[in-house]
Symmetry: C2
């Protein structure tokens, strides 16, 4: 990379000239995600007095018939183990999930939704889906499919980089 001289250029135009397409794509991707995520967070807070990570953890459990280990939750939620401990503590304290010791391996907890947790999650999930549909629904079905495919391709390539 060459050192650039003290900029006497207009800052705005320099931004566009200098920024690589990939960088702009990344910023746009981030912006879209942040806006949607922010909306969902606010809705979860105002409608159910809960948070996105709590909802996420419950969503993982709802799909897992026999509960999940802390480490599995960590993987699926893409967060560290210490983080899962805290969120699980909070949900357990409210009686929405339980830790059950795995009889085969006493290091392991199997975390499960309680009946109350399940009931509450189902109510939230229905609303949640409605919010997302409202936020993305204005895109035509064709556009949605295009986006799905392109993001699918991106995702595969990211996975390949992670594996490498």
């Amino acid at each position: 990379m060459k050192a650039s001289p003290a900029a006497s250029l207009d800052a705005e135009t320099r931004v566009h000239d200098d920024h690589h397409v990939s960088l702009r794509l990344w910023l746009r991707l981030l912006s879209c995600t942040n806006q949607i995520e922010s909306r969902v967070r606010q809705n979860l807070q105002s409608s159910f007095n809960t948070t996105l990570p709590r909802f996420d953890l419950m969503a993982q459990l709802e799909r897992a018939a026999h509960g999940l280990k802390m480490s599995e939750l960590s993987q699926r939620m893409m967060v560290t183990g210490g983080n899962v401990t805290g969120i699980t503590d909070s949900l357990e304290k409210e009686g929405l999930v339980v830790r059950e010791v795995d009889s085969a391996d006493r290091r392991v907890y199997r975390v499960k939704l309680t009946a109350e947790g399940e009931r509450q999650f189902r109510r939230m999930a229905a609303e949640h889906e409605r919010w997302v549909i409202d936020l993305l629904g204005t895109l035509s079905p064709k556009r949605k499919k295009q986006l799905m495919d392109l993001l699918g391709e991106l995702k595969e390539q990211l996975a390949a980089l992670n594996g490498a």
Copy 2:
């Protein structure tokens, strides 16, 4: 027919077909963003011992010739004012940015990069762009443009919802 490679375990992968298209699209969007963001965070940490929000704040300033008000930083970074206060404190303590009182309105701080901050940011920005290019670079230029356009449309519609 596209083959699905070894499944990663994140949420989007395991959602069933009965889930609405919008929901799946949202989870996929989130998954891609999280993966990229996670990589960038790790790189910022290991290469420069700094964090994404600190980098983000400096990036906003670098594009603003005359500095930015705290409230402008808050808007552009899409975070609350209280958050900006903390990050600015930290950067100021290290001499990378300064708060200057606005002579026209003493409630206002204009935050600017110091010379040292500018130097440091430029080094980081070059690396950062390289990382992003590595992460997104495998998409063909055509795909990138398609993604840009689709995300642009999505972004506009989200903005419309916010305005409404």
